[in-house]
Amino acid sequence: MSIPADLKYTASHEWVKTNADGTVTVGITAHAQDLLGDMVFVENPVVGRNLAAGEECAVVESVKAASDVYAPIAGVVVASNSDVETSPETINQDAYAAWMFTIKPTNSADVAGLMDATAYQALVESEAH
């Protein structure tokens, strides 16, 4: 399962990418989509919503399971990807291309506190046992 080295990760299986303008884009990892199976529904947070770190803010749903998506860091939602809402299967096809929403962080230093690819790889392996 791919874990791109240039992204940051959370223990709840979100990936986080820092953009040039300081905003961060969030999606769920390839590992998470594999656990959930065929996606049938995605609900993103509305633009303008203020999120606390760890707050439930989106839902992804497959035939057999539904899972909340959590805000990796605090901030305000500045974009939401309606393409994944209309075509949830794109998350199964490429979880790292199918971004869900973008946050303008309250404190841009918060991103540094997230897991890097190596740490996330270790987490995924530990959960497999």
Binding site: V40, V63, P88, E89
Partner: protein, 482 residues
């Protein structure tokens, strides 16, 4: 073919409607319907044939062995149905005076008394219409009890991770937060985790015993003490009451409140998904909070106790007296069993389960908790099979349909990978169980020899395996003409 495709303009079952169209010209036009609703336009025989044919596309207890774990698919005696549908019972309006319902009310009073006895509780309300409503009533009573004592800090319900999904869902509906605690390797509650979890914030613990893992919780006396010492109450989820009917009373285990699933233990029909009935039983301290109505007997007359009679009641679960006709079926079944018959239910349910477990173990299946006695049900895990052949528990279940058996419960409880939860019930004979074992063995052989065959099952049903993903992505929930 759908019933709508049998429809033809102006065709109708004329014997079934008033002979003439009555005058409605007194009603104002702006409140009237202009379009014609999409109801079938068919002859009486079209309709009878269509739905008779649909019925033949179902598995049912009347036609197949149905070893569906946690669902207690025992024989539904026919007398329970025909006697509950006697005209005097069917014709009575729920608001008709109690004097016109003494036959029904007497039966309900006696059912309450019998359920009090088998559960060891001080009071029973028959009002909840399903297990989940019984759970709701039970947890609402726990909350009402703590609130009545001004003990507002108790805001958490503890639920073992093996519990039915309704337990946490119910606790949330009652305004509680949920704390899950783990299960140990033997399938029992992890006592250390329980001790760490309880405190002045604990409203109660919800427990199924025997548990959803098919074993009796041996430490129930310790659990009871830990929760009660912390000031919490104990809720008994009666999903598995069939395993201990007439043998152990939940009240004696220290439970304060219990719900029963009469559609399991008392053999009322599952009806393709309901109606059920989920009466609640309570210990003395919860009597003031019981859901209304409750049947009482005064001067040899029966009547319903309502809000004014039980002022601290948690209220009403339904407009009337719950699923009254279902309750009548349970009453008739209970009277046909009698006291001895109730003891035998748990004895033979347990005998059948332990026999089937042993035979399947001998046939090469992995038992999830091999050191334990089965209760009335047990779990096998097909993890090894999945790893070696790619055949999953779901594939295995679908292949059983081809052999004429309803599948056991799959993927529940979620704690056991690739599991099948098997409950034969007391009403199945040894021959049926032996034939089922042969089918299981045959499929196991097929899975190793020709895994693709099993993965493609079923082949003999009205449809092959269905595309669930398409169903969820391209929602098609109602038929549209054209």
């Amino acid at each position: 073919m759908l019933i709508f495709e049998h429809s033809r303009p102006n065709r109708a079952a004329h014997a079934q409607m008033p002979a003439h169209a009555a005058d409605i010209s007194d009603l104002p036009a702006h409140l009237l319907r202009q379009d014609v609703p999409l109801l079938p336009q068919a002859s009486e025989m079209d309709v009878v044939r269509h739905y008779t044919r649909l019925s033949q596309k179902n598995f049912s207890i009347d036609t197949q062995f149905y070893p569906l774990g946690s669902c207690t698919m025992k024989y539904n005696p026919r007398a329970c149905n025909s006697l509950a549908m006697l005209p005097g019972f069917l014709a009575r309006h729920p608001f008709a005076p109690a004097t016109t319902g003494q036959g029904y009310l007497a039966s309900m009073y006696e059912l309450q008394e019998m359920l009090k006895d088998v559960t060891g509780m001080a009071g029973v309300s028959l009002a909840p219409m399903a297990g989940a409503q019984g759970e709701f009533a039970g947890v609402a009573m726990i909350r009402a009890y703590h609130d009545s004592r001004g003990d507002a800090a108790r805001r958490e319900i503890i639920v073992p991770n093996a519990a039915h999904g309704t337990n946490p869902a119910t606790a949330v509906m009652c305004g509680y937060t949920v704390r899950e605690i783990p299960t140990d390797k033997e399938g029992d509650v992890d006592l250390e985790a329980l001790k760490a979890a309880v405190g002045p914030h604990t409203a109660g613990l919800m427990l199924t015993n025997p548990s959803t893992l098919g074993v009796f919780e041996k430490q129930i006396q310790d659990i009871q003490k830990i929760v009660h010492d912390a000031g919490g109450l104990l809720y008994y989820d009666g999903a598995n009451l069939n395993a201990i009917l007439g043998r152990v009373k939940p009240g004696d285990m220290g439970f304060d409140v219990i719900h029963m699933n009469l559609h399991k233990t008392f053999s009322t029909p599952h009806g393709g998904g309901g109606p059920g009935a989920g009466p609640v039983g309570v210990a003395t301290r919860l009597l003031p909070f019981m859901p209304v109505p409750v049947v009482t007997k005064e001067n040899n007359q029966y009547r319903l106790l309502v809000e004014g009679d039980i002022p601290a009641t948690i209220g009403r679960m339904s407009a009337n007296h719950g699923n009254a006709g279902v309750l009548l079926r349970a009453y008739i079944y209970a009277r046909m069993l009698g006291a001895e018959g109730m003891h035998r239910v748990s004895e033979f349910a347990t005998l059948n389960a332990n026999y089937l477990l042993k035979e399947l173990q001998q046939a090469g299946f992995d038992i999830a908790f091999p050191t334990r006695r089965a209760s009335h049900e047990f779990i096998i895990t097909l993890k090894k099979l999945k790893d070696e052949t790619g055949v999953s528990a779901m594939d295995f279940a679908k292949r059983l349909l081809d052999y004429g058996y309803h599948a056991p419960t799959t993927y529940f409880p979620m704690l056991v990978p690739e599991c099948l939860l098997i409950e034969p019930t007391e009403t199945e004979s040894k021959e049926t169980l032996d034939a089922f074992v042969i089918a299981m063995k045959t499929i196991l052989t097929e899975a190793y020899a020709t895994p693709e065959l099993v993965k493609g099952a079923p082949y003999t049903q009205p449809v092959r395996r269905l595309d669930d993903v398409k169903a969820a992505r391209e929602l098609d929930l109602v038929w549209r003409q054209g």
